[in-house]
Amino acid sequence: MAKMNMLHAINSALDITMAEHPQACIFGEDVGYFGGVFRATSGLQEKYGKHRVFNTPLTEQGILGFANGLAAFGAPALAEIQFADYIFPAFDQIVNESAKFRYRSGNEFNVGNLTIRTPYGGGIAGGLYHSQSPEAYFAHTPGLKLVVPRNPYQAKGLLRACIKDDNPVIFFEPKRLYRASVGEVPEEDYEIELGKAEVVKEGSDVTLLAWGAQMEIIEQAAEKAQEAGISCEIIDLRSILPWDVETIAKSVTKTGRLIISHEAPITNGFGAEIAATIQQECFLHLESPILRVCGLDTPYPLALEKEYVPDALKVFSAIKKSVEF
């Protein structure tokens, strides 16, 4: 075990992959010698060569088009989109190409070797275009898998699982935690199974569900709740697609209450899908309406970011509302 921040953990997962497969390539804007604007790919070009770790021209659709081709060829394609806010020029390549490659060809071809890494989320004073959480757009696309880690240990194990999974995966990295989150991480290889949520803390009164950087927020809210005598069960969804209905339903069956929290705007956010499914699965066990504590339906703000974000106080208010319903 070693103390690592999330960037070190991601770098370690990439390093293992590059050593494992002689044709694996890492590419994106500024990922080469510079090691990426957040330094996630630091040192990898020196180690594996310019032909395997390289800067691309400034073209997100090109990065994903190239990645689809490389993955279809059979090489692990590790594409980085510098900010999730800039993934939209590549939307067609991801939604119409990556996601449908296997299906449309009857499995003659596939891009299971594709992994897209992209930093998402707010909390860095990034305003409209360095803060977005676009997971819900992609969650509406059969053929993709979506994964979000909450800490360095999770990041390494989940990223390795994404890379080895034989489907195209988008790995959303909570950029606010890149350096802020530090923890014990094994230096050796390990994987965390995709599609499985994790009960981070057991509780009895209300289930709190989030993913990525929002986990820290609901944990803080749970502490406030505990002081108020309310016991929260905390779950990290980890995989948004496919998502672990069973673990969430089991928890809500026990607590009778569910609060979902994400940074993305509330309308049509992934919380809506979870709420719809869980009310169907747990209808007779629910003690109160399922609540969502999310971003407002605005573009991501700058000066008023604190007011916008679903912070621990807003989550705590929802907990009280749910319990007192």
Binding site: Q23, C25, G49, T59, L64, G65, F66, G69, P89, S105
Partner: protein, 405 residues
């Protein structure tokens, strides 16, 4: 001198603009209208066997297109797209490749797939989206694909295959990492050819794909089929530059323009382009000039946007007839045998059509397979619910109801 802007260091003191058409790119033409080699032109090395295979492929595609166009009009298939007028461009370029080079096509390149050996039954099974279709009945007619024949499955969105070809070709290069130095060898076994139309070249993916191929030295032969029309939009409403070829130079890519109705010119240019890609590891751009004689697809009617006179002018310059004249001059083809072969092919096509249209549709399971490598739990649940529903209402779902396990 350092050159941070990556430009030619050529200073001028005269204020002068370069004209937007300064390049004035020529079109390579080798074969004359009557099958003669034109003065000053050099015929490519083309053996009798290859020449006849090119010819028989073009002949087959012309007959297949005629029959399937009619089959669509009869309501037997939902959709079709003809290669009419572009048979030489597609067939001769595919013939200049190695059999295991990757082909990433747009949709009008069925001749390239036929050249590779895709069987008549395979063509039919795809068009009838029956259970024998390699694509499992999921895409509209003419969206062929074959892993065995290195022909990437067609995708309807235009131009998406262009940056993908760059990535695929880069992968072909990764097969040749020098074990001693860890560096890429420039000489490689296989390349990728990427076909697209002059309309698709307006998509952002064209720019992305060509620029990345140049920057990353991906061995792609980009083959732009400039056939004059993108559905109804003529090329002069698509771009103002000198065709697509002028852009190749902008990307720093070796570029050539050929007469796409001239089998020998297309073959010669593609052969030379492949050599550059395989030996230098660089991309090449070929712009082929031809005319889309048919409609865009069976859903289109060109009489609404172009004249019969215009079509007649180009119909006279048939690429197949021109190549046939050359073959006759070579003494490699016999007119009577050719006519007999056409009759036989027509019969075979009709027979295959009659078989394929009776083959049943794919089983219900193929609705949910291949979305992922294995169905995810939510989809598995939806599938089970759908099966139960169909079992309760079998009369409403006659295609699959009888075969649900």
């Amino acid at each position: 001198m350092i050159n941070p802007n990556n430009i030619s260091l050529n200073i001028s003191h005269a204020l002068e603009f370069i004209d937007g058409h300064a390049l004035n790119i020529p079109t390579l033409k080798i074969l004359g209208d009557n099958g003669e080699i034109l003065d000053g032109a050099t015929a490519p090395e083309l053996d009798k066997e290859t020449a006849l295979k090119i010819y028989s492929t073009m002949r087959f595609i012309r007959l297949l297109d005629e029959r399937m166009q009619a089959a669509q009009r009869q309501g037997r298939v939902s959709f079709y797209m003809q290669c009419l007028g572009e048979e030489a461009a597609v067939t001769a370029s595919a013939a200049a490749l190695k059999h295991d080079d990757m082909i990433m096509a747009q949709y009008r390149e069925q001749a390239a797939l036929a050249y590779r050996g895709f069987s008549l039954d395979n063509f039919m099974n795809q068009m009838f989206s029956n259970e024998l279709d390699l694509g499992k009945g999921r895409q509209m007619p003419i969206h062929y694909g074959s892993n065995e024949l290195n022909y990437m499955t067609i995708s309807s969105p235009l131009g998406t295959q262009i940056p993908q070809a760059t990535g695929y070709a880069y992968g072909q290069k990764l097969n040749h990492i020098d074990a001693a130095t860890g560096e890429l060898a420039s000489e490689i076994d296989n390349v990728t050819i990427c076909y697209f139309g002059e309309g698709a070249a307006s998509e952002g993916d064209f720019h992305a794909g060509l620029n990345m191929a140049a920057v990353h030295k991906a061995p792609v032969v980009f083959f732009a089929r400039n056939n004059g029309y993108a559905i109804s939009t003529p090329a002069d409403e698509q771009f103002k530059g000198d065709g697509i070829a002028a852009r190749g130079v902008g990307y720093g890519i070796k570029t050539i323009r050929v007469d796409g109705t001239d089998t020998l010119a297309v073959y010669a240019a593609t052969q030379a382009a492949r050599k550059i890609a395989a030996e230098q590891g660089d991309p090449v751009l070929i712009e082929s000039i031809a005319y889309r004689l048919g409609a865009h697809s069976t859903s289109d009617d060109p009489s609404g946007y172009r004249s019969k006179d215009e079509e007649a002018e180009f119909r006279a310059a048939c690429p197949i007839e021109r190549f046939k004249s050359w073959l006759l001059k070579q003494g490699w083809l016999n007119e009577a045998e050719d006519e007999a072969a056409k009759d036989k092919i027509r019969e075979e096509i009709l027979a295959a059509l009659k078989v394929a249209e009776k083959v049943q549709k794919p089983a219900l399971e193929e609705l949910v397979s291949d979305v992922y490598d294995t169905p995810i739990p939510a989809l598995q649940k939806q599938y089970e619910e759908l099966k139960e529903h169909i079992k309760q209402h079998p009369e409403a779902y006659p295609v699959t109801a009888g075969r649900i396990k």
